[in-house]
Symmetry: C2
Subunit: 95 residues, 2 copies
Amino acid sequence: MEFDKLVHQPTRLQLFAHLYANGETSFSALTDDLEITEGNLASHIGKMEEADCVAVNKQFVDGSPQTTYRLTEHGEDLFEAHVQTLEELIDGLDS
Amino acid sequence: MEFDKLVHQPTRLQLFAHLYANGETSFSALTDDLEITEGNLASHIGKMEEADCVAVNKQFVDGSPQTTYRLTEHGEDLFEAHVQTLEELIDGLDS
DNA sequence: AATGTGACTTTGTATCACAAAGTATTATGT
DNA sequence: ACATAATACTTTGTGATACAAAGTCACATT
């Protein structure tokens, strides 16, 4: 039973889950939905990028910058593995 | 979606799960099963005690000290709530 | 009394999350 | 062209945290 610290950390776990469930999502949508500060989001997303878990897309929409993020395949794989680890832990409670 | 840091931390999450599933467990069984050092176990269990999540029982068995731990009701409640939070996160992935 | 075992406690360190404030990029308005 | 505004970061500082390693303590047996 191993926990990947990158994925398990609460804020990032929610980021992974959000991106996994909702697909490509904008910076501001993430700060709004997860109720975290911009600095914090940038920091956590940065670590996910470094680990090749997240791909970034920057563009201008209606005259304003808009950055969107999505999970890479590797990010999806890591998250799925982590969810499985959690499910195993939960399933093991019945025994 | 809130994560209780006390419960979510990987080593303690496994401690909670182990005590929840197996009931009263000895110090040495915990270091063996979770593969953590004695110092580390003492430290994490200490935090769980402080939070009234764990009850301790010290005795001598066959001339050797043996400490056992079990979850308090409060500990069980906290863990169950946390598991539910995790399940909700996982269930939300389908949408 | 001396030794041994189990269960801690102490000490030190490196990492980390977070908040707050500062900065950079580009668009729009005048 | 210049100033301003909006988004998306980056920097700085701080307090908390996990962990390893080593030291200590209580009690029982010999």
